[in-house]
Symmetry: C2
Subunit: 355 residues, 2 copies
């Protein structure tokens, strides 16, 4: 399937959170309909979708019906069970493809893959039990970070080792899950590149953004990022190398640590990415539309940046500042329609145009 999908084609989206919601809107802008597959009730994406399937990822009948009703399947998160993907792929293309999911679902696989591509990654070691953790700490030292190989996001499934005394508690926190120990990297700041690759193999990158985290969750992304001209080129080359190696179709988020020794790949996400939300108010074609264009066989759009932007996430009760934000000049408000405000929950974001 390389011909562009026609108007009225249906984009299947696994996951009904804010990313699925913004993908749905972008799909509509290009004349497509969206069908959301989501186990949870009242998903934010359903407010702007043509159709919703509420079913768990092990419901083979629901998965088959969903896959049979759509023209292509994409996803808003990478931790989709392999068994669900198998059911879907028998009926309809999944974009980005399985290889991107296989690599990014497992931190150990991902790091080895990136290293094999000749890219810099933090020193890492496989941790499968207490003994391998001890030997990993001996090799990589402290401080270091122990992370589950699978299902981690927004700082979840991670434990910092500040001294060797932390080794025991950290391993117990993993509750027996396979893990990876990452050595400490001294970096000045983190940037991310939101990159896209079309069905025909064309690659386009948005300007890198500079990320600031708070409590393990992305707080702000600022464009332009503080990068030298050569670092900017490197960032794009790194993203393009990964996209081409994976024969990728869609948008990929690449987080990079900026160090004196070069750009170190922190992690990749085979989907639209929180650090790319600024593109909604800084580019003619944003990351969501770029993703839909790619997976639908359209040419990539013009992702050049026309403004400086600071994206700020509204986490939990940050959203209580809405009355002031709604009045602020140059401030674009994006809310996700979540009924209940909870600490740590992403309720929305704002994009501030600063030039």
């Amino acid at each position: 399937m390389t011909d562009p999908l026609p108007t009225g084609a249906i984009i299947g989206i696994l996951g009904g959170g804010q990313l699925g919601r913004m993908l749905s809107v972008a799909a509509a802008r290009l004349g497509f309909k969206s069908h959301i597959y989501e186990p949870g009730a009242h998903p934010p994406a359903a407010d702007v979708a043509h159709q919703l399937t509420t079913a768990p990822y092990d419901d083979t009948d629901a998965l088959s019906a969903f896959a049979g009703n759509v023209d292509v399947v994409t996803y808003e998160f990478e931790n989709i069970p392999t068994s669900a993907l198998d059911v879907i792929e028998a009926l309809v293309p999944i974009r980005p493809g399985r290889e991107a999911l296989r690599v990014s679902q497992d931190r150990l696989t991902e790091k080895a893959y990136l290293q094999d591509l000749g890219l810099l990654v933090a020193p890492f070691a496989d941790v499968s039990d207490a003994a391998s953790l001890t030997s990993a700490v001996t090799r990589l030292g402290v401080p270091s970070i122990l992370k589950t190989r699978r299902f981690g996001y927004d700082g979840k499934g991670q434990a910092r080792l500040k001294s060797e005394a932390d080794v025991g508690p950290a391993w117990r926190d993993m509750a027996g899950q396979p893990a990876v120990l990452e050595g400490f990297v001294t970096f000045t700041h983190e940037v991310s590149v939101i990159a896209a690759r079309s069905v025909l193999g064309d690659v386009s990158c948005f300007d890198p953004g500079e990320n600031v985290h708070r409590d393990g969750i992305l707080h702000t992304t600022t464009v332009p990022a503080r990068l030298s001209s050569s670092q900017r080129t490197d960032a794009v080359l790194i993203a393009a190398k990964i996209l081409n190696a994976l024969d990728y179709v869609g948008v990929l988020g690449v987080e990079l640590f900026v160090t004196p020794g070069g750009l170190i790949v922190n992690e990749i996400a085979p989907r639209v990415h929180n650090s790319g939300h600024w593109t909604q108010n800084g580019c003619v074609v944003d990351q969501f539309e770029q993703h839909i264009r790619a997976i639908s066989g359209w040419p990539l759009g013009d992702g050049s940046r026309y403004a400086d932007v600071v994206m700020e996430n509204l986490i939990g009760h940050d959203v209580d500042r809405l009355p002031a934000l709604a009045k602020e000049a140059g401030c674009a408000v994006h809310l996700y329609g979540k009924a209940e405000t909870k600490p740590g929950r992403k309720m929305g974001h704002v994009n501030r145009i600063v030039s």
Copy 2:
């Protein structure tokens, strides 16, 4: 009701075309859900709406159920039957209000209203039968335009009188409908102002756009429009005068003829307007969000323009140019998801960023 609607509130929208569709998307961006009421099948707005009612405008039960399910009702077109509005208004606020609809549903009423406000309008005369048409032509001369008082749009319900010989056929074309004869106005070009007024009475106008029509349908809108500084001020003052007189809440489109003697009001539309589509890619807050903000009791947003834009409508088979348009730099594509391409049907539009 002047408090801002909370996240999750439901915006009822009468009409499920492209304007309702883009209003739905804007509502979602502010955390609201949309409920579309539309008699026709498969309305474009349903692809991005939380809920859809398919029923005619004389179905009192369906109207009541719709009104009972939403927090405010707005509309994408002005020709809603009065009886339907009566049913709705008994249950929930309608914004913009009834006075705006009363005035704009009837060309004769509208012209008299604008004239009473001290604004310039084309010379006009009430035409209720063949005899009154003859006397109107004697007074206003030819060329002139005969228009139905109600239900006209995109050049429909209009007949040009080039000579007195056209009088008989033009009147027969009206098929007995009350009409208004408009005298010929010599103007250099047409501009429109998209203006908004909040629940608290704040007014904000987008930069005027310059409109070019083709076959009676809007073809392009270009911002900035060719206007002197004083004309620009006049345009805004005219729009504000109308908004305040109507105690208006929401977005209003005002079409103006630019003449050496001043700006003449051609017509007003109590809704988002095709000539305001450029705001989607030229402003932080576009006309759709501005409308939703106003009717939801939010403060108006920052509608200042950050780019020069040319909006081009894709009418009928214009949409066949999509493969080229999708690749064009600086070109934002907006499709309405209409299944069938028909001559004269608005299939989408593009916004070209030209600076």
